[in-house]
Amino acid sequence: MSESTIFTLTFILYILAAFFYLAYLYSKREGLAKLGSVIALFGLLLHTLALILRTVQSGHAPFTNMYESLSFLAWATVFAYLIIEWKSRVRKPGAYLLLIVIALMALASSPLMPKDATPLVPALQSYWLWLHVSVTLLGEAFFAVAFITSLMYLRAESLEKKGLAPKSGLTAERLDSISYRAVSVGFPLFTLGGLVFGMVWAYKAWGTYWSWDPKEVWSLITWFVFALYLHTRIVMGWKGRRSAAIAIIGFLAALFTYFGVNYLLAGLHSYA
C-alpha cells in the first residue's frame, strides 16, 4: 500500500472516531466513546506507518513542507489527546479534538498543498530538523488539547452558574485541571523544541542563535502567554475563566506561529 492510501485510510478512521465521540456526547453512552478511542488509536498507528513510509521514501524527516507538517501536527494532536484521555479518563473532549484533527488532515490533503516529496534544500539537512520540529509540534498539540478543554470549561462553567450543569459528572473544575495538565506537558516540550532546539539549530545553520525573525518572535510571544498562564495560576491563584481565556489565547498564538507567520509575515523560516 502506498503512503497516500494509508493516509486516506487514516483520515477515514479519524472521521469514524469523531463520529463515535460525537454520538457519545449526545447519547451519553460510555461504550461509544470507548469505541471512538479505540478507532482513534488504530488511526494513530496507521498514521504512524504512513509517516514512517514517507520518511523511508523521501529519505528525510516527514515535516519539510506544509503537507507533511500538517499531517505530523494531526498525528501529534491525536497522540497528545489519547495520552491526556488515558491519564484523565475523560473522553468528552475527544469529539472536538478530532474535529481539529480532521480539519488538519483536510487541509493537508487539499490540492493547494504540494504533496511531492522534494529533495531537501541544504539548510534543512540536519538532524536538528527532527528534534526542533517534532518536539515543537508535539508541544503545540498539547496546547491544542488545553485549548479545547478550556473552551469546554467556559461552557460548563456558564451552565453550572445557571444551575444547568450536566449530570454526566464532568465538572468545570475537572476541565480546568485537565487544561492545566495539558499545559504542564506542552509548555516544557514547546520550550525545549521551539526555543532551545530552535536556538541551537539557528546557531549551527545561520551563526546566530537568535535573530528576531518573526517566527522566532512569535514563538517567544506564545511562550510569554503560557508563562502568564502559569504565573497567574500558580502565584496569583487565578483559576477558571481567566485561566481558560489565557490558555485559549496561548493556543491561538501558537497557531499563528505555526501558520500565520508563514503566510502573513516574511522571514527566515520560509520553508514550511
Partner: protein, 451 residues
C-alpha cells in the same frame, strides 16, 4: 520611597504587566518589518514613517525602550525570586515539626492510624517504612510525643527559581553577545587567502563545490578551507550548510556563493569567411592578449557580461549574475593597430556587431565560459554562546523540577495510647495530588500492618 520601589519590584502583578507589555511590543515588531531603509518605510507608511523611526519601531528589539523593559523585567525576576527563596530555604534547612496533632489535622490529605507498637518502637518502624518510599525523615521528640517530618523530592520546591536563574543566564549571554560578538563576512574566490578581521589568522578557500541531486536541484554547498596562521596551514576542513567550522572562538558558516564574472576564462572560435573549413579555438583570459597561431593577429577580451542588456543610457550592462545572455567584448589587433572590436554573444552567434577598421575576413563565436567560483562565508565570534547553552540547560532542568518533581511532605505526630501508638498523619504535595493521595494511602496501610 525605597519601600515603594521594593514593593513595586516584588509584586507579581508588576511582573505580569511587564509580560503583557513585552508581548504587545514584540507583536508590534513583527507587524513592522525591521531594519529596512528609510525610503522603504516612507513608501509603506507615508507620514507615519518618521514617527515610527523616531519611536524606534523600525529597530524595535534593539531599541532603547525595549531593552529598558527587558532590564526592568529581569530586575523584577531577580527580586521576586530572591524574596520567594528565603521562606523556601527556611522550610528546607529549618524544618519545623509541631507536636500538636491539630497542625496535621488541618491538612487536606490526612489520616489517623493505630499501630500495635509502643512509641519507642514505633518511631524507628515508621521511619523505615517512610525510608523505603525514599522519604527523608526529621525527628522531633517531646514528652510522650514524637513528631516526624518526612519529605522527598525537595529540589522540586526550587523548580521555578531554577527556571528564573536559567532565564537570567540566557539574558546575560544575550548581553555579552550583543556587546562583544563580532560578525563579518568573507568573500573568497578559489585559492584566495584573506585575513579574518580581528582574528590574527587567515583563511584560504581551496575549493568550492556545489552538490546536486539527480533532478538538478542543489543538495549542498561546500567550501574546503585552510586556516593559515603565521604563514603556516594549521587546519583543513570543509564547511557545509549546517556544518560550520570552529577555530579559536571564530565560527565559519557557508552562507552564499557565486561566480566571479570579472575574471572568466573564455573559449572563442575563430572562423574565416573565405575558408569554411578554417576553425581555431582560442582561450582568452580577461585583458590578456592572445596570439592566434599562424595568423598575424592578437585577440583580447576587454569585458564580459553574464546577462547582457542595454541600460537606460544605452550602455551595455548586466541584468543579473546569471548566465542568461553571456556576451564578451573582443578586440582584434594586428601589428599594434585595431583591426576590429565588438560584442559577441554566446546565444546569438550571428548577431556579432563588429566595428571594423577595414573589411576583415575573421568571424568570432563565443563558445564557452568558465568563471572561478567564490564562496561567501559568515564569520562570527560570540562569547555569549556558552552562557546561552548553559542557561538553556538550567532552564530545562528547572522546568522539569517544577512540573515533574513535586515535593512531597508528610507530617506525623505519634502519641502513646494504652501502650500502643496513635499516629496522626497529614501530607502536602504541590502537584499531582491524586498520585500523592494513592502513595499516602499505601503508606498508611503499611503502617497499620507494621508489627
Amino acid at each position: 520611597m525605597l519601600r515603594a520601589l521594593k514593593s513595586f519590584f516584588t509584586s507579581i502583578k508588576v511582573a505580569i504587566v511587564f509580560l503583557i507589555i513585552l508581548i504587545a511590543a514584540s507583536i508590534l515588531g513583527t507587524l513592522i518589518p525591521q531594519g529596512r531603509s528609510s525610503q522603504e518605510y516612507l513608501a509603506r507608511y507615508g507620514q507615519l514613517a518618521g514617527l515610527f523611526e523616531k519611536l524606534q519601531f523600525t529597530r524595535l528589539y534593539q531599541s532603547f525602550w525595549y531593552i529598558v523593559i527587558l532590564a526592568l523585567f529581569s530586575l523584577n525576576i531577580i527580586i521576586c525570586t530572591l524574596v520567594r527563596l528565603t521562606p523556601k530555604l527556611h522550610r528546607v534547612f529549618r524544618p519545623k515539626c509541631d507536636l500538636d496533632a491539630k497542625s496535621v489535622q488541618v491538612l487536606k490529605v490526612k489520616e489517623r492510624v493505630k499501630m500495635a507498637l509502643a512509641p519507642d518502637a514505633a518511631v524507628p518502624a515508621v521511619k523505615s517504612v517512610l525510608g523505603r518510599h525514599h522519604y527523608r525523615v526529621h525527628e522531633h521528640s517531646g514528652e510522650k510525643k514524637h513528631c516526624l517530618l518526612a519529605r522527598k523530592r525537595i529540589l522540586g520546591l526550587f523548580g521555578s527559581d531554577i527556571v528564573h536563574v536559567g532565564l537570567l543566564i540566557i539574558l546575560a549571554g544575550g548581553i555579552i553577545s550583543g556587546l562583544t560578538g563580532v560578525r563579518g563576512s568573507l568573500t573568497l574566490s578559489e585559492n584566495q587567502t584573506l585575513p579574518v578581521p580581528q582574528a590574527g589568522f587567515s583563511v584560504r578557500l581551496d575549493k568550492f563545490i556545489t552538490d546536486l541531486y539527480p533532478d538538478g536541484s542543489v543538495k549542498d554547498w561546500k567550501s574546503e578551507l585552510t586556516i593559515i596562521e603565521a604563514d603556516k596551514p594549521v587546519l583543513q576542513k570543509s564547511v557545509e550548510v549546517n556544518h560550520p567550522l570552529s577555530y579559536k572562538g571564530f565560527v565559519f558558516y557557508q552562507s552564499g556563493y557565486g561566480s566571479d564574472w570579472e575574471n572568466p576564462e573564455l573559449q572563442v572560435w575563430l572562423r574565416k569567411k573565405s575558408d569554411p573549413g578554417y576553425l581555431k579555438t582560442i582561450r582568452l583570459e580577461m585583458g590578456r592578449p592572445a596570439t592566434v597561431e599562424g595568423e598575424n593577429i592578437t585577440l583580447t577580451a576587454a569585458r564580459f557580461l553574464p546577462d547582457f542588456v542595454l541600460d537606460d543610457k544605452n550602455q551595455p550592462s548586466s541584468r543579473s549574475p546569471e548566465l542568461n545572455n553571456p556576451a564578451a567584448f573582443i578586440r582584434g589587433e594586428s601589428g599594434g593597430a585595431e583591426v576590429f572590436s565588438g560584442w559577441i554573444f554566446a546565444k546569438f552567434p550571428d548577431f556579432a556587431q563588429m566595428h571594423q577598421a577595414q573589411e576583415s575576413e575573421f568571424k568570432l563565436e563565443l563558445k564557452d565560459i568558465k568563471a572561478p567560483q567564490y564562496s561567501v562565508l559568515q564569520t562570527a565570534k560570540d562569547p555569549g554562546v556558552p552562557l546561552i547553552w548553559a542557561g538553556c540547560a538550567v532552564l530545562m532542568l528547572g522546568l522539569f523540577l517544577a512540573f515533574y518533581w513535586p515535593t512531597r511532605e508528610i507530617r506525623l505526630v505519634l502519641e502513646e495510647s494504652q501502650g500502643k501508638t496513635e499516629i496522626n498523619a497529614g501530607g502536602i504535595s504541590a502537584k499531582s495530588r491524586e498520585a500523592f493521595q494513592a502513595e499516602f494511602d499505601g503508606l498508611m496501610d503499611a503502617l497499620r500492618k507494621t508489627k
